[in-house]
Structures are given as C-alpha cells and as structure tokens.
C-alpha cells in the first residue's frame, strides 16, 4: 500500500520518535510512505483562529503537490496535521468557490481527488493477519492506556474512521501486538495542546487529569498518536509534578514505538532513548 506521506513540522524535532518508529513499522508492514516533496507547514494550531482562508490554503498547497505524485491517498502521523489536511480536503472537495479561491493563491492547485488518512487508520486497516505475522516479541503483560486525544476522533464529520466517544483503533493495534489495552475513561480528553507552550499552568491541570486516570486504571504506559500529546504528557510530566506537587512516573510512547518493539525492532531504532519519561520500565515488563 502506497501513501503520500506528510511528515509535519515536529517530526524532525520534538516528534522524532514518531518519525523513526512510523517508518520502521511501515517498512515491516509493506507500507510505502513517499514523502511529499517540498512540503510546507499545514497551519495546525494557529491558522484556525486567524483566518478561514489561511486555514484551508496552507494544507491545500500540500494536497496540490501530493495530487501530482500519482498516489491516491495521503497519510500523516501528527493528529493536528491530519485534522488540517482532512478538513481542507473535505472543504475543497465540497465547495467549488472555495476551491477556486484557494487554488488561485497556493501556487499548487488541488482538484480534490485524494483521500486523507491518519497513520492510525492506515495501520489499523491493514489485515490483522499481516500485522500478527510481524509480531515476534508480543508485549505480553504490558498494560497500555491508549490515548487518542481530540483531533484524531473529533469532529466525526471530518475524522469519522473511529468512534468519537470510545475509539478502538489504537487499542486493537496494541492487542494485536500482544499488549492489554485498558478500558479507561480519559481516552479522548484534551491534553491542552498548544496551551502547553503558551499557558503551561493551565495545561498542567489538563495533563494531570489524564495522567491520574491512566495511573488509576493501573497502566504501565500510555500510548499516543500525536506529537503535541506526547510533548505534553511526556516532556511536561515533570512540570506537572513540580507545579501540582505530584509524583507521576509513567512512560509515554507513540503507539508505533510499542508496535515496533513487538515487531522486534530495537528500542534505540524506535527512539526510546530520547523520551523524557523512563522508557526502561516498559522494557523490563516485556522482557
């Protein structure tokens, strides 16, 4: 299965582990991810509150480039990038006036022929037998709280591939990897996203809620699918501890890291070393 691949701005930086593990896992599953040449920022976080036109134009430029690649489907890991691309795609397909307006300013006109999928859906729809055939070190005994966040599952008119209240795509992938996917209450509660940078003392309250629920459900780790969620839950765990006088010590992984681990890929190749939380704990659980 070939996809036009949109890396997103955080991939080479703060989302490095997601980049590494996604590519490693894709290779094992026979998924070819062809990076969109000269891709530019999709405008996540900031453009939605500045201008509707900008909010569609920035991602559309990338869709326009991707259309010329001869591949039908686009995928991306970052949930915010996914939301931007999927939203722009829908609006560009449905609204001819908007399409013409946007195409006149992006320099890369988009006709509306592509499908946009999150990497969660792209991996989730692979035949379970194919995935299972690659699992050599099942994560037996590992209790994972799968955290979806917001932009992956809401609003359902844009996302639609999973249930917005009790999504199961990441849970099912973790189950195939041999782990125990926990039924917990905060799968889709917001982590605060960019408030983690602009207003940390607001964000820590939201991050705290999620960490508390994960700990209450007896999770060994949290699996995420978005670099911002990872930033807030992993990088800022110490901030939460400091500002709210807590003592959380729960590792936070991209689900592709855990999937890759079960496929026998070495932790270093997956990015285990660059987390802020202690990833070695998980290695001891799975042996």
């Amino acid at each position: 299965m070939r996809y036009a691949y949109f890396p997103g701005c955080s991939y080479h930086g703060t989302g490095k582990e997601y980049e590494l593990s996604t590519h490693a896992v894709a290779k094992k599953l026979g998924m070819e991810l062809v990076t969109i040449p000269d891709w530019s920022c999709c405008g996540a976080t900031a453009s939605h509150g500045k201008s509707h036109l900008l909010n569609i134009a920035l991602p559309s430029r990338n869709l326009g480039i991707a259309e010329g690649m001869g591949i039908d489907e686009v995928t991306t890991g970052c949930a915010a990038c996914y939301q931007q691309l999927a939203n722009a795609n829908k609006k560009m397909i449905e609204n001819e006036d908007l399409r013409n307006k946007v195409n006149s300013i992006t320099g890369k006109p988009y006709k509306g022929t592509l499908k946009v999928k999150s990497i969660v859906e792209a991996i989730g729809i692979v035949d379970p037998e194919t995935i299972k055939s690659q699992i050599v070190k099942p994560l037996t005994g590992l209790k994972v709280a799968c955290y979806y966040g917001c932009l992956l599952v809401r609003p359902p008119e844009i996302t639609g591939f999973d249930d917005p209240e009790n999504p199961m795509f990441i849970d099912n992938i973790m189950k195939l990897a041999g782990a125990e996917a926990l039924d917990w209450a905060h799968k889709t509660e917001c982590c605060g996203a960019s408030l983690g940078v602009s207003n940390l003392d607001v964000a820590v309250r939201m991050i705290d809620r999620i960490l508390a629920a994960a700990v209450e459900s007896d999770a060994d780790c949290i699996a995420v699918a978005c670099p911002f969620c990872h930033l807030n839950l992993d990088w800022h765990q110490k901030s939460v501890n400091r500002k709210l006088r807590k003592s959380y010590d729960i590792p936070v992984f991209y689900f592709t890291e855990l999937l890759g681990l079960s496929m026998g890929i070495s932790p270093d190749e997956l990015g285990f070393k660059t987390h802020f939380t202690d990833t070695k704990k998980v290695l001891s659980v799975v042996g």
Partner: protein, 661 residues
Amino acid sequence: MAKRIGLFICWCGSNIGGVVDVPRVVEETKNYPGVAFATDYKYMCSEPGQNLIISKVKEHNLDRVVVASCTPMLHEPTFRKAIARAGLNPYMFDMANIREQCSWVHSNDKEAATQKAIALVKRALAKVSQVEPLFESSIPITKKALVVGAGIAGIQVALDIADSGHEVILLERESTIGGNMVKLDKTFPTMDCSACISTPKMVQAAQHPNITIMTYAELVDVQGYIGNFEVTIKQKARFVDHTICTGCGLCTEKCPTKVSSSFELGMGKRKAIYIEFPQAVPNKPVIDPDNCRYLKNGKCGICKKLCPVGAVDFEQKDELIEEKVGAIVIATGYDLIKWEEIYGEYGYGRFKDVITGLQFERLVNASGPTNGLIQRPSDGKEPKTVVFIKCVGSRDEAKAKEYCSRACCMYTAKHAHQVIEKIEGGHAYIFYMDVRTPGKAYDEFYRRTVDEGAQYIRGRVSKIYQSGDKLVVMGADTLLGSAVHIEADLVVLATAMVPTEGSEKIAQLAGVNIDKDGFFIEAHPKLRPVETMTGGVFLAGACQGPKDIPDTVSQASGAAAKVAALLSNDQMATDPMICHIDEKMCSGCLVCKEVCPYKAISEKTITERIAGQPVERIVASVNTGLCQGCGNCTVACRAGAANLKGYTNLQLLSEVDALCR
C-alpha cells in the same frame, strides 16, 4: 332538458373576500352556459348560508349547485346535505376551492388570485353540467371490534366498547395483558401503586362477557374496509394447554433454565416456562421455544412430567385464526429508545450502574428483581447518591429524537421522591433543561419533591465515566454559569419514548400512516386525534405520541366512543363514487383487475347475441362493496370501458376544456 345551475360564491369573511374580488367573480361567471342563478354571501356554510341555497333551489327550480368556497374536505358533506334537504340528489353538486387553493396561497397578488378564482369557478360549472344523480347503497356492519395491544390503552378501549354492548377482541402479543403500566411501581401524581389500579381493570377485561382476550397472539393480515374487516390472527404456540392448566406454578418452579427477562428489562431472570409476573392475566404460563431445552434439544421435559393435570403439550403448533370485525383500534404503546446504541458519552451501556427510568421502576417495585430495594446492579449495594438525567434521546436533533417525551419530567420527580423517601441519607440530583408539569396537580407534585430535598441542576450532562466504584457525572449549571461534576452511585437516564417495535408492520397491515418518528398519524392533530385517515381504524395511547397515563386513558375512552358510534348502526352507506364497467366496451383484458388495490374487480361471463347467435365472453365486474373509487382501473382501461362515477372521463375532459378556454 336544459340544465339550471345555481352558483353560490362565498366570501368566508375576509379569508376569501380580502384577497379575491368576489363581486367581480360573480359578474364574470353568472352568464356561463347553464347558470340560472348566481350570488355571493359572506359565510355559505352557516345556517343562513345553507338556507339561502335551499330557498334559491326551490325559487329558481335549480337542478344542480356549485359552491365556490373552501376545501371540499371541510364542507362538501355540509353542502351535499343542504341540497338534499332542498330535494335534490346530493351528488348534483361540485365545489370550487377558492380558499386553500387560491386566496390563502396567493394573498400577495389579488389580481392573479381573482383571475384564478374565476377559472376555478368555470371549471366547477363545466363539471357540474355533466353530473348525474348518484345513489348510495348500504352494506351491513360487523358489530365487533378488534383492539391491537392490551396495555392500559387497549384495556380501557376494550372495556368501554364492551360496556356499550359490542363484542371486542383484545389482542396482545406478549403472554399477558397489562403492557408497560404493570412494570411501574407507583404512578404520579397520586402515588397510587400501579398494579393496584391496573390489575382490577385487567381482571374486569378478563371477566367481561363481551371481551375475548387473545394473548401470545399477533395480527398477521387485514383485508376489507370499514365495517367489514377480515383479520387474520396468529395464535403462537404456548406449548401449554390453557383450557386445562390451573396456574399452580409447579412447572415454573422446577424449570432448570434461567434466561434474562425482558419484563425485568434485563435486570432479572425468568424461566423458559414462565408467567411474566404474579398478577398476569391470563395467570398461566407459556414456554419460550428459543430457550426451552426440550424444544431445542429434546432434553429435560420436567415441566411435562410434573404437571398434575397434563397441560404441557410440546406438540402444539401456531394457529391462524380468521375473524370478521367492523372496527380496529391500534393501541400498541411504546418502547424506550435504545440509548446504548447512541450515547457513547454515557458509556454505550458498558457501565452497569447507568440505567433507564423503567429499569429504576423495576428496582423500586416490590415484586421486582430486588424486591423493592433500590440497589446498584453492579454490586447490590444501596446507592446513596443518585443522579437523574432528563432528555436522554429526546429534544436531541443531532443524534436522536427531536420531540419531548412528555412523561419524563414527572416520573423523574417521582423517582427522586422515592430515593429520598426510601434511602436513608440518600441524595437525589436531577440534571434538567426544563421541568414540564402541565397536568392537574403536577406542578404541586414537583414542588413538593424539591421541598423534600431533591436538587435540581439546570444543565445537560456531557459525559459519565467510571472511577473506581463511582460514576463521575460531568454536567453544567447554566444558571450559575459553571461546569459541575458529581460522583454518583447510580445514574438514571430518562430516555425517549419511541413507538413499539413492530409498529411499522401494524401500520402496513392496517393501511395507516406513520410519521417520521414512527408514531401513527391521526386524522387531524386537533380535531380528530383518535381517528386515522383510514376509515374504521382508530388510535389510542402512546402509539400515537408520547403521553402519560391520564391522557392515555382519556384518549382510549375517546377512541371507544368513536367505535361505539360506528358499530351502533346496522348498516352503513357506501360511497356511490365507484367504478362502473361499460360491458359493451369491455374487451375482457382484465388489466383493471391487476391494478385494483382493493381486489374489487373479478371476471364475469356474459352472454350476448351477436348476429343472432348467443356468444359467451368475459368482461370485468366490480364488487360495489369493495371498490373504494381510487380510479386506477379507469386509467388502466385502454378502451375507456371503466369509468369512475362522479369523476367520469367526460366530466374531467369538460373541466380541462373550461380551464383551457
């Protein structure tokens, strides 16, 4: 003989006269060929208006009348009766609708409306020039009624019809009558015990000489029409002979199979051979063939061995029974919406301690699965903090039903009162958008509950989740302008009332319409709430729309009165506007027979003399009793042999001519 048409144009106050220039319409049409007299009047349907028609018919020796006024649906019968009083055949008449189809819809263009009114009057004059006298015939009425559904609505209808002296079949697909009302504990606003007030009616129905109760039976076919229905009922095999069974209950005691009871709404179990509840009518068991070990695998059979009178009969088969009735009343009641399939934010049914209001009734009911103790389904502990959420599935155009389910505000107040009364140290919190208490003593009931300590919080609940053994309810207090949360032991959802499963099929069988939400449609929402557009089929209870017990019982008695009125006649007049086959033109192709939806056309052999020789041939023949005058056959007939009396081809063509000139 020359026709003498009387033309009467109505102002309808300002309804027509305020838009259409009525005097001008009279001017332009009074010289139409055949018009012997023309005038206008403010209210033709009033007594002076009708008397005007009668007096002018006599004075000017008129032989046919046109009234230009409102819709025939409203006043065609009125004017037909008036000219009949004047001595004319009531079908020497036509109406021009210059209100609903003219002044009411073209009120912004008076000139155009007036031109249209003139055209419509000319059309009516052209038609009435071609009419002939028509004569009604009569058919006998079967003096028996069928009531489909034996909840409180059906039982009340049956009792009232039976008391008026007519026979009733009370049909119920469950194994007992009683419906949803017998599942309830107490009823607002008086807090009467539900069983105490409904079981006497159930027994009354069982003992009434005019009522035949058929339980565990379903309606499978309806043929015929008002006054003359032929229905087919499937009596499901009970595998217990009720004529022998004494109701001793030994079989139900010893049956080894326990399954989830739908009567207990999944909160309790019953046996494979079972009586639904202790006061069931009939108080005799049935066997559930899907779960009985003997019927499925040939094992067990202990009930048969133990029965002291040998009433268990595994060989019983479903039986089809045909009955003739004159009227049908649909009283199929309601179910609750399947909220578990819709509301993921409330857990999709995964949390055991999130239940519906009806499930709460079973908990608090002394003959329920917990013997009347309010207990958490998860661990059986008594809940101290109970949260009620109203409007779950109602008033929600995004995911569920737009309408308000009418009874929930009252029964939630009732439940809150029961929590406070029965649970020591118990707290009741109710999340609401409004509190709707329109009935007698209703608002007083609600205020008393608030005085007792029920906490009403204005806002909807966004999410419920499990935290330890508590349920966290995330709500809002919009009056305060804040989000709120409560750790609850039990959450009760007031879920939307929807029509009973299978309502659509009953509607198809009886030939009645259902609305976008599946409720049966009444003939007129204000003036004819218990009738349907199908003659002889009536409605009662929640099947027509969500309602509480007082309204249900009132409506049931209303439906019964309509049925009694219908059945009080020995004969009923049939509509003379039916199909007539001109046998000379009929070629016997019988295409009309194929297209007749009422199976009113059959083939007939006639003998003619052709060139001196008798020749037999087939022609179509119409059963005047069955024909409803739909006109399908007249359209299908290539020879023009089939003609609809009152709407003949000639009459319709003359209308077209009048409009085109």
